[in-house]
């Protein structure tokens, strides 16, 4: 479904990603784990054309997409829930969700999608009139995911959905993410929360200093000695 080949990315002179090659297949949950500064966010921004690669290719559903504009990528159903949520703070919860269905295809199904989002996150239904900036961190994350779902994703990429959120809500959010996958959406989950991410995913990649150093079945990675030592502290 998504296939990345030999991707190099720079910020000015500094190279941040080195020859990243990876793939996500339809209906999978794939995770990319790595420490702070490894280049995970940069990878997702490059996939969504917010940042440009200096070398390599990105393919989505049989089409090369690394020259497209960000809104064309969204229109193809390749959606990123950004790190730090990036919701519209002085708009209501409802308006945030409506803007998720800004593009024509998504707009045609607006009320239907909204019903689904409210079924996944009943907390949002109770707060439709509230300004998004006044929600708690966990609720804002739910809103960001809900807004992403409103765009009708085929592949949903989540950048550290557990960052800065109370543990109880993290569990709820992870449960919902899994539910979204059960309903047919393919997921690419980026996390520093290595255990939870690998526990939930089918496959995983480990990114270190902009290079993929390990990859495989999530279950195998959880048992891997290097990962246990470097990331799980066991």
């Amino acid at each position: 479904m998504l296939s990345i080949k030999d991707l190099d990315v720079h910020y000015d002179d500094v190279q941040v990603l080195h020859g990243v090659t990876m793939e996500v297949r339809a209906t999978e949950i794939v995770t990319i784990v790595g420490a702070n500064g490894a280049g995970k966010t940069t990878l997702l921004k490059t996939i969504t054309s917010i940042h440009r690669s200096s070398k390599g290719q990105i393919w989505f559903e049989g089409e090369r997409i690394d020259h497209l504009s960000p809104h064309h990528i969204v229109d193809r159903g390749l959606i990123r829930i950004p790190e730090g949520r990036k919701i519209f703070p002085t708009m209501s919860v409802l308006e945030n969700l409506e803007l998720g269905s800004y593009l024509p295809k998504a707009k045609a199904l607006r009320s239907e999608s909204m019903g689904k989002v409210f079924d996944l996150f009943p907390r949002l239904r109770e707060r439709t009139r509230q300004l998004a900036g006044t929600l708690s961190g966990g609720e804002q994350q739910m809103l960001a995911i809900g807004r992403g779902l409103m765009t009708l994703p085929r592949l949903l990429m989540l950048d550290e959905p557990s960052l800065g959120i109370a543990p109880l809500l993290v569990r709820e959010i992870f449960r919902t993410i899994r539910e979204v996958n059960h309903q047919g959406t393919t997921l690419l989950l980026v996390e520093q929360n290595v255990f939870n991410a690998l526990d939930m995913a089918h496959r995983g990649y480990v990114l270190e200093n902009g290079k993929i150093v390990l990859q495989g079945e999530a279950h195998d990675l959880l048992g891997n000695e290097y990962i246990k030592e470097s990331y799980l502290g066991i």
């Binding site: 504009s69 969204v74 308006e95 803007l99 800004y102």
Partner: protein, 293 residues
């Protein structure tokens, strides 16, 4: 310094509010562009001048009523704004702020000099009898063209507010001004939103030009007179804050006109520059905060 009597004070307040409506419209154009693109448009005044000349020439050459010419100056300025954004601003969007500043300043000099070349520096006025009339309420005289300008300025502002608040496109513009990355992730085409914001901002100031032409003179450097005050309004109301620009325009309009009653002649703008400096020193985010709604 003078101490004006009550009638003069009342007259100043009313005139100030009426002028304030025009300042609001100019400032809303400026603040919208700043809120969405983080660019201070120094060509705003020359674009206003183009709005004024559109109205002037339409009347002189074709006898079009100045208020009817809103139907021309608004779309002309809108399209002009789109083109300026697309071909001049887009290339410097990622450039440092001083490059953007120099670009809009250069554009302003270009437009003004072109206007000087085409139309000379002469002061022109619209000589239409009904524009000379006034309504008198008690001791206060209300100039008819200022009253009409105020009314249309508020009407256009209300219309724009409704558009930004209630349409998908308007919400996309607000979304882009609040949170660029969030806007990108829902598929908002930022390039187009920038074009649109610049077009709307220019249409606002063009309309303000048309509305001012009936009670002011028209010449190539006239825009600066309004726009310098509009900068004060934008800073006063909070950069990027729509409501701040609206309310700020009225307050600064009154401050200017009451100030002029106290400090006649060359000092008449003293009060508003004084306010400008005070705000920058002690409340740089403006009275109403930066882009609240």
């Amino acid at each position: 310094m003078n101490f004006p009597g009550l009638p003069l004070l009342l007259q100043s307040i009313v005139s100030g509010i009426l002028m304030g409506g025009v300042y609001s419209l100019v400032a809303i154009g400026l603040t919208l562009i700043f809120g969405v693109m983080q660019i201070i448009n120094f060509a705003h005044g020359s674009l206003m001048m183009l709005g004024m000349f559109t109205t002037y020439w339409l009347y002189v050459l074709m006898g079009v009523d100045p208020y009817l010419s809103l139907l021309f100056s608004i779309p002309i300025c809108f399209v002009l704004g789109l083109l300026i954004e697309r071909f001049l601003i887009t290339p410097v969007l990622d450039a440092p702020a001083h490059n953007q500043l120099l670009l809009t300043l250069g554009l302003s000099l270009f437009i003004e000099n072109l206007a000087l070349f085409l139309w000379s520096p002469n002061f022109r006025t619209l000589d239409i009898p009904y524009l000379q009339t006034a309504v008198t309420v008690g001791t206060v005289m209300i100039s008819f063209p200022k009253l009409v300008a105020f009314f249309f300025a508020l009407l256009l502002t209300a219309f724009l507010y409704y558009f930004l608040k209630n349409t998908d496109l308007g919400k996309a513009i607000r979304a882009a001004s609040m949170e660029r990355e969030g806007a990108l992730t829902v598929g908002i085409n930022l390039r187009w939103v920038y074009c649109l914001a610049f077009g709307i901002g220019t249409a606002c100031v063009g309309a303000a030009g048309t509305l001012s032409a009936p009670f002011f003179y028209v010449n190539p450097s006239v825009g600066g007179i309004f726009v310098i005050t509009a900068y004060v309004v934008v800073v006063f109301g909070g950069m990027g804050n729509f409501i701040g620009a609206l309310v700020g325009g009225l307050i600064i309009g009154v401050a200017e006109s009451v100030g002029a009653a106290f400090f006649p002649g060359q000092l008449k703008k003293f009060i508003i520059y004084f306010i400008f400096i005070l705000i920058l020193l002690f409340k740089p985010e403006g009275i109403f905060g930066r882009r609240s709604e």
